[in-house]
Amino acid sequence: MLAYSEVTEFSGEVGNFRAKVHRKARYVDASRCTACGACAEKCPTKVPNEFNFGLDERKAIYKDYAQGIPSVYTIDPNTCKVLQGGKCGVCAKVCQAKAVDYEQKDSDVELNVAAVIVSTGYELFDATQIPEYGYGRIPNVISSLEMERLLSAGGPTKGHLSRPSAIRGEVRLKELEKLVKKAQKAEDQTQVEKLQKEQQWLEEHIHKCHTAKKLGFIQCVGSRDFRFHKYCSSYCCMHSIKEAIIAREHEQETQSYIFYMDLRTVGKGFEEYKVRGANVSGLKYIRGRVAEVTQDADLNPVVSYEDTEQRRVVSMTLDMVILANACSPSLGIVKLSELLGLELEENKFVKTHPNRPLDTNVPGIFTCGCAQGPLDIPESVAQASSAAARAAEVVMTGGRALAV
């Protein structure tokens, strides 16, 4: 397994490809690290945790998530004091396994392989591209994956559905406490008053609406939209329904509204799940595309939409809005496709033929999962097995690429 690595050079042909893989330095000796976590506990450098979309913090020496594989810590060279030329060295001191190695260098591995499988996945659509939905500007508008982290027992809120405005508000309150003390010391009375006013407002705000109970899910954010992706991202309808059902399981008073164009429930058990969502979890499905999300004085998002079944434009005030971000092609795919000589289709997914679903234009290079287009989990898993079968055929026939 070559994690924290990228393919940088590629040549050859089916049965005999050569690839150079660039391994980034972790600054931790993987053979020694036992992932005990002592280093991260003592590391003094806190940075926003991208795994939880910045909803909490991690240290400069970190692991993406507790069960992450390989079970090795990694030092982030952009924030580690030592690697930035400063003084610290705490992690090396506390590491009983003597695994920390600030001198570690990037390295290259040469591989000779018979076949290649491209399973580079997808990127979550960046919803800031749709300014009318307010993502990034309105704190209580979040992405579908941010919602996952909020719902996760291992996430920043341990599964409690706190509003981001409250989570950030609490962080700001701590800051304010310090700032007030500083201002008091400096005897800057106007500043103290200003800060205290903010403090009071935030406390009230957090007290008034800490938990999100009235949720709106906006479907097709970046999908089925000519400005961005004209395709349907396949899994988002079910994803939103699932999030709404889980939110209700966490908090019985939760009421969710799902704004959709077509509810696509094509998988095994999906339609039944959707119906159960309405009957058991009280989900309300509203056919109509949301035009705009604004915000009221209490930081509640307000959605305006045309209710096509009621035939009128209406608005609804919610506690939180969850966007069903589209499945965008992975960022690195263009570069990788050039390296491997792969043809991409117009949306920048790896091109395949409907009758040869795993085969790329290069014999011996196969693709599966969201690299070749949006797919849900079981389809991805099934495709992965079939790509494995195609690769195995090459190996077992001594390097020949057979027709499907």
Partner: protein, 56 residues
Amino acid sequence: MASKEVLIIGGGIAGMQAALDLGEMGIKVHLVEKNPSIGGKMAQLDKTFPTNDCTI
């Protein structure tokens, strides 16, 4: 001499499953992942529909 090994680029659910299947067949696999941990988006999910099972 043809190689007997396979390179998989991307260690999300699809890459991991392909690696597991090939491994089961006794074929040596190199799984390349750009992030420090494999798992991809799936590791960020809380539970999955329709069974609401946990993902990790």
